[in-house]
Every structure is written in structure tokens, then in C-alpha cells.
């Protein structure tokens, strides 16, 4: 039966829409968007006052941990977290066990995603076999199996030569190479941003330059090959400058920033909880100047995408000494609230720009459907509640892991409901009466 989403503010930057419209959904696709659409027997869903209808949000950087690390997360729990966080699709990183470097692993992930039947899952394949940085993975077969990009995320593409080959080869299939920027020698065994905080706490540092060096190398290789490099989880102000410079030269370079890098700083190493392993991630929380640079880059358009780098870890793994804990925090269920509270309500960007960063741009970079409420597009829709007061409760999260530094935070803005292919896959309890 057709569904009519009635009377909400529709924000759809792909089609230049921002106003009160109805959205008619039929057979899992957007049938029409317009003001005062006739009901014509469709089931009417009245959009609650203050809510916003947007194209489904896409998180292009998550770790679903399956296969191999199911104690941290599975495709089912990760996609449950995704839809609860307003995401209708996620792109998952290949550093699983075994690595997603062949069609068999890709197919396995897609099978698990179909069984879970929540968010869409776009696997990202490895650049190199086993992510060992030597031989190219079977990229054409990965593409054919459903991979949308390649990366050796968790570590950088090992050499400039491998990056060159990856860009040339993946370019044949229109796939970007997503780069985890990090010079391994400068990173060393660092565990936190190299700055005053880590220095005073006796933690080994990872300088911002470790990230920028790889970004600058990749920029040169992108120009050499004409290939598309996407910089993952950018954190350092020097990297942002490199990206801006590359863009000004016309290189095919795009970048993403994770919410924790535009919200938090390395001051979190000391307080409120000293040596809290839930503020340990890679790249690390950097200093205020870097955090402010990320906000500026988001505001001025230098940043293309907000992606969470959702990195679930079991609490046993995090309940250890700081230097022994794994890097990473969860992000799927806090991203929208952080974007509303710290970007839109703080006046950094407008809501349409937020939707570009969270939906339109990731869809374009990955070349996947979505990011738009155009007629005929899959009916992947996020219904957001910009003024909902949200108190983050790690224990209540759908993700199998609870490693978030935002537990207990109160934020303005959240998710009312999430719809994938015209089917309501998540409704926030606060909206159970109206959208449920």
C-alpha cells in the first residue's frame, strides 16, 4: 500500500527543496514530492510538528566487525544501531577477520545484511590482499560482488606505488580509494595526540603531521593518476590545509570528519575521567586548534562528509591500561544528535548543509543510490527531530558495544524514525504514538 508522509519540513538539497511538502511512497520508492498531495487511498503518516523529512542518512565509515569479531559487533547489531541513529545505509570497512579482500567475504557480509534487513550495507573492499600492503586485492571481483570502494583502513596504503596502482586500477570501476592517513614511523607506538596533554600525562604522542604527510603524498599520487582519493576520519588542521590545497588545484580529493573530531579535544584525556580508554581512538582527539579547524572546514565546504568511524570494542578490551586498549569508539547512535547540537543549533551550518554532509555527499562519493528524494529513488528516508532533547545512554544502545565518550551527555536534536525502502525500520519511543 502507498504511504503518504504528510506535512513535514522536507530538506532535500539534491533537489533544492527545503519547505513543507508531502512525500508519497509507493512500492518502496519515492513516487511524488509536492505540497498538498491527494491521499488517493494511501496510508497517511502525519509528520509530527517540528520534525524534518530528509533523504536517508549514509554513514560511509563504520566497522561492523563481522566476520571474525562478532563479540564486538555483528552486521545485525551494527545495522540496528545504524537505523536507530537515523542512518539508512552504512559502508563497512574491510579490516575484519578474514579481511574483506575477496568476493566470498563481501558476499557473506551482504548475506548477513539481507538477513538483518535493516539498513543497507555497502561493503568496502581491501586495497591489498590481507591488507598487507603488498599485492592488490582482486578489486574487479570485489566490485562485482558489491564493494563500492577500496581501502586498507586501520592502516594507510603502504606505499606511494601501491596507492598509484590502486587509484589506477580502481578508477576503471569508478571506485574511490579511501585512505587512512598515517605515517607509521611518525605514529610509532603513540596512543594519543602529540600535544601538551599527552606530554603531561606521559602518553606517547601521535603528531598531526603523521596524518598530513600521508594526505600530501596521496594528493600528489591523485594528481599523477587522476584518481579519486577520499581522506577518511580527518583530524589534523594540517590535513585540512592539504585537502584545501588539493581541491584548489583541481585534484580529485574528498574528505570526511568524524563527530568526535569536531566536538572533543585532547583535554578529555585528563578530565572528566583521567586516562579514560573511551577517549582513545585513531586518529586521536586533537587539540582545540584542530577541533576548531574541523568546524571551520565543515562550515566553509572544505569538508565533504561527516562519517562516524563507528568502531565498537567489547568492554573487556577497553577495561585495561590506556596504552593497552584498542583504538576506537562507537558513533552510529550519537552522530545525528552531535551534528544538530554542535553544528546546526550552534550556527556552524544550516540543516540542508548537514544533510549534504550526511547523505548527499556520501552517496555521490560512493556512487550509490540515495542522498536524494527524487521521484523514482528508493524510499530511504530519515525523519529527524531537531529539537528533541536526547540524553545519551550507552547501556540502551543497539550496538553490541558501549564504548562511547558521550554517555550521559544531553544534546538537542535526534532521530524520530528511519525508513528503508519504504518500510519503517526504526521509530523512536518518543514518537511511538505518531509514527509507530
Amino acid at each position: 500500500m502507498a504511504l503518504l508522509l504528510k506535512g513535514g519540513r522536507v530538506v532535500d538539497p539534491a533537489n533544492g527543496r527545503d519547505g513543507v511538502f508531502d512525500v508519497l511512497i509507493d512500492e518502496g520508492r519515492i513516487a511524488r514530492v509536492g505540497a498538498g498531495l491527494p491521499v488517493n487511498g494511501a496510508k497517511v503518516v502525519d509528520i509530527p510538528g517540528g520534525c524534518v523529512v530528509t533523504p536517508g542518512l549514509i554513514d560511509m565509515h563504520v566497522h561492523l566487525r563481522e566476520p571474525g569479531q562478532e563479540h564486538k559487533e555483528t552486521v545485525a547489531t551494527g545495522t540496528a544501531a545504524a537505523v536507530a541513529g537515523g542512518f539508512t545505509a552504512v559502508a563497512c570497512m574491510p579490516n575484519t577477520s578474514p579481511v574483506n579482500d575477496n568476493a566470498g567475504v563481501t558476499e557473506y557480509i551482504l548475506k548477513k545484511a539481507a538477513e538483518a534487513n535493516l539498513a543497507r550495507v555497502y561493503p568496502i573492499g581491501a586495497v591489498s590482499r590481507g591488507q598487507m600492503g603488498e599485492q592488490l586485492a582482486e578489486i574487479a571481483e570485489l566490485r562485482q560482488a558489491g564493494c563500492v570502494a577500496i581501502t586498507d583502513d586501520g592502516k594507510p596504503v603502504a606505499t606511494a606505488l601501491l596507492m598509484r596502482r590502486a587509484l589506477e586500477y580502481a578508477g576503471m570501476f569508478g571506485m574511490p580509494v579511501i585512505e587512512h592517513c598515517e605515517d607509521p614511523t611518525l605514529k610509532g607506538d603513540g596512543v594519543a595526540h602529540e600535544g601538551f596533554e599527552a606530554s603531561a600525562l606521559g602518553l606517547r604522542g601521535i603528531p598531526g603531521a603523521a596524518e598530513a604527510i600521508t594526505a600530501l603524498r596521496d594528493l600528489a599520487v591523485a594528481e599523477l593518476t587522476g584518481g579519486h582519493v577520499h581522506i577518511a576520519h580527518m583530524s589534523a588542521r594540517q590535513t585540512l590545509d592539504a585537502v584545501r590545497w588539493g581541491k584548489s588545484r583541481g585534484a580529485r580529493i574528498t574528505c570526511e570528519v568524524a563527530p568526535h573530531h569536531f566536538v572533543l579535544t585532547d583535554g578529555m584525556l585528563r578530565a572528566p575521567v583521567a586516562f579514560d580508554t573511551n577517549v582513545k581512538m585513531n586518529p586521536p582527539l586533537r587539540e582545540a586548534a584542530d577541533r576548531d579547524a574541523m568546524l571551520a572546514g565543515i562550515a566553509d565546504g572544505s569538508v565533504d562528509v561527516i562519517a562516524t568511524d563507528h568502531a565498537p570494542h567489547h568492554y573487556d578490551e577497553k577495561k585495561v591500561e590506556f596504552d593497552r586498549a584498542p583504538f576506537g569508539i562507537t558513533g552510529l547512535e550519537t552522530a545525528v544528535s552531535l551534528c544538530f547540537d554542535r553544528l546546526v543549533h550552534a550556527g556552524v551550518i544550516t540543516l540542508p548543509r548537514m544533510i549534504e554532509l550526511l547523505s548527499l555527499n556520501p552517496a555521490r562519493i560512493l556512487g550509490v543510490a540515495g542522498g536524494s528524494l527524487a521521484e523514482g529513488a528508493p524510499a530511504d528516508v530519515s525523519i529527524l527531530a531537531p529539537d528533541l532533547q536526547v540524553t545519551v545512554a550507552a547501556a540502551q544502545m543497539r550496538s553490541k558495544s558501549k564504548n562511547t565518550p558521550f554517555d550521559g551527555w544531553t544534546l538537542r536534536g535526534g532521530v524520530a524514525a528511519t525508513m528503508v525502502g519504504g518500510r519503517m525500520v526504526y521509530v523512536n519511543d518518543a514518537f511511538a504514538n505518531t509514527l509507530g
Binding site: 610509532g188 601538551f196 583521567a274 586516562f275 577495561k319
Partner: protein
């Protein structure tokens, strides 16, 4: 005082003075024929050491015994950490036996903070990674105060492997809190970032640093924490940064030479200096017992329910 002593930052200025004053009284106990008081009778202190240590562990143990505490030493070999139980599990098992104090030495910065969050026992940090070693800084301050009568206004130069030193971090906090003019001196490769912010002067010239110094605190070159080449050779290090009699001649005539030990003779300090008339290195060791008695007494010696 706070429940735990993890960092010098846990102590107010007044509490630092309280520890030092209490240590004066404790030192007297060590000079008696019967070196024991019943202050901590019935209290249990666990010395949980994840790093080899002779000086610090012995010093704590003697301090505990002189206060009549029941002491237990647990030395966990670094090699067994990976296959063994986690620090948290070990601590929770100890905790189940209701010790009053856990003295922790560990290779990870912040290990004591982790225990502090899960243990009711009081945690005394006996050195955590490159972070802090608060009782060492307290005994250093005690030794300086004893010789100079004050700390305020003194020029204290800390020279050596600054980057990897927990002794440095605790001493910077303590000495600046008590009004000393602290200088840090060492090769640029071993200079921690941003300490100017704490009101410290930083120099890579040992001659500049030592000029008119009241106190020279020499830090050990820590081969075991050095992942990577920070300087070309130990020989060259000594040539450029070694504390030699010639260099010490630039300091004040009544300069004190300190070292937290163990010393590398001919690397960071010349034997003539270490064994020379201005050296208080062995006094530091003696004072360590009194200062640790003071800390244990102030943390665990209170009335029940205090």
C-alpha cells in the same frame, strides 16, 4: 587528603607541606634503636609491582614494616602479563581480601587511575609508565628542604632523559607548586612538549641551565623506554649532556646533586660528581623511607570511618 595518591596534582600546597612535616617526625623513628611504631598495626598493604624495582619496593616495604603494617609483595613479571589475568582482575581479587592500601608500580601511564576507579583500597602510585612517581618527588623536595631550608626561589635544574621520566613530571608539578624556578635540560629529541605552560624554562644547553643552579637533579637515561634512536650514542650523550665536575663548577658553590637512581655512571653523570661532596644521592634513598611512612600514615592511619 584524597583517597589515593596518584599524582602530585592530587595534593594541595598545604598537603605537600603536611607530608614533608610528617616525614620529619617519621625520620626520627628510623634513628631509634627499635625502629617500629604501631601506627598501622592491623592494616594490610599490598605492594603490587609490575616492573622490576629494588629501591622503591624496598623503601615502601621498610616504611610499611616500621609502621607495623602487614605487608605483602606481589611482583608480576612483565612476561606473564600477556598470558595472565588483566590488571583489573588482579586488583579485584586483591580487593576481595580487603587490603587497606595498594602500592602500584606499572609500566602503563594511568594504571593507578584505572585501579582507583574500581578499588576501595587506597592506591599509592609508585611509578606509572612515563606519567608520575609522586613519592619520589616528595622525597626529593624533603631532601632539598632539609639542605636549603626552603624550596621557594631556588633554581632547580632537571637534566637527562626528560621525555620518558615520571620523576620529571612529578617534580615539575611539586617544585613549581612550592615556588622553585625549574629548568629542564636535555637533547631536543627527549624534550617533552609544552612544559613551558607549567612555568618551566627549557634549554638544550647544559652550561646555560647549570649556571647558578641551587639544585641539579640528574635523570637516568632509560634505555628500556626508548623505542627508537634519540641520540647517536651514549658516548656522545655524555659529551654533550653529561653532568661533569667542570659543568657543575658553573652552579652555585653550595649546589646539591641529586639522582633518583639507579645511576648510569659515565652516561648521565660522572662518577666524580655522583660520589662527590655535593651529592645527596644516598640521603635521598634514606629520606625515601621517611616520606613513604608519612604518605602511608596520612592515607591509611586515620581513624576508622575517617
Amino acid at each position: 587528603m584524597k583517597k589515593d595518591l596518584l599524582s602530585i596534582a592530587d595534593l594541595t600546597r598545604d598537603e605537600i607541606h603536611l607530608v614533608l612535616d610528617t616525614a620529619e617526625a617519621m625520620r626520627e623513628i628510623g634513628q631509634r634503636p627499635i625502629k617500629k611504631v604501631p601506627t598501622l598495626r592491623g592494616k594490610t598493604v599490598v605492594n603490587l609491582f609490575y616492573e622490576p624495582s629494588t629501591r622503591t619496593r624496598t623503601s615502601f616495604e621498610i616504611a610499611e614494616k616500621r609502621l607495623s603494617a602487614d605487608t605483602l609483595n606481589i611482583a608480576v613479571a612483565a612476561s606473564s602479563v600477556l598470558k595472565g589475568e588483566t590488571l583489573v582482575d588482579t586488583a579485584m581479587n586483591l580487593e576481595a581480601m580487603s587490603p587497606d592500601v595498594i602500592v602500584l608500580r606499572h609500566a602503563s601511564s594511568g594504571a593507578g587511575h584505572l585501579l582507583s576507579r574500581i578499588c576501595k583500597s587506597r592506591i599509592v602510585n609508585a611509578g606509572d609508565g612515563m606519567h608520575e612517581h609522586p613519592t619520589q618527588a616528595l622525597l626529593d623536595a624533603f631532601t632539598i628542604r632539609e639542605h636549603k631550608g626552603r624550596i621557594d626561589g631556588l633554581k632547580v635544574v632537571i637534566v637527562g632523559d626528560l621525555l620518558h621520566s615520571r620523576v620529571l613530571r612529578s617534580n615539575v608539578l611539586l617544585l613549581t607548586a612550592l615556588g622553585a624556578q625549574v629548568w629542564m635540560c636535555g637533547p631536543a629529541t627527549l624534550m617533552p612538549i609544552g612544559f613551558e605552560r607549567l612555568g618551566v624554562k627549557m634549554s638544550t644547553s647544559i652550561d646555560t641551565a647549570l649556571r647558578d643552579a641551587d639544585v641539579v637533579m640528574v635523570l637516568r637515561i632509560q634505555h628500556e623506554r626508548m623505542h627508537g634512536a634519540f641520540f647517536p650514542s651514549l658516548r656522545e650523550y655524555f659529551t654533550v649532556f653529561g653532568v661533569t665536575p667542570q659543568r657543575v663548577a658553573n652552579a652555585k658553590p653550595d649546589v646539591m646533586i641529586m639522582h633518583p637512581g639507579p645511576i648510569n655512571r659515565g652516561v648521565e653523570i660522572a662518577s666524580e660528581v655522583a660520589d662527590g661532596p655535593y651529592s645527596v644521592i644516598l640521603e635521598q634513598v634514606a629520606n625515601g623511607v621517611a616520606v613513604r611512612m608519612a604518605v602511608l600514615y596520612l592515607l591509611a592511619g586515620g581513624v576508622e570511618g575517617d
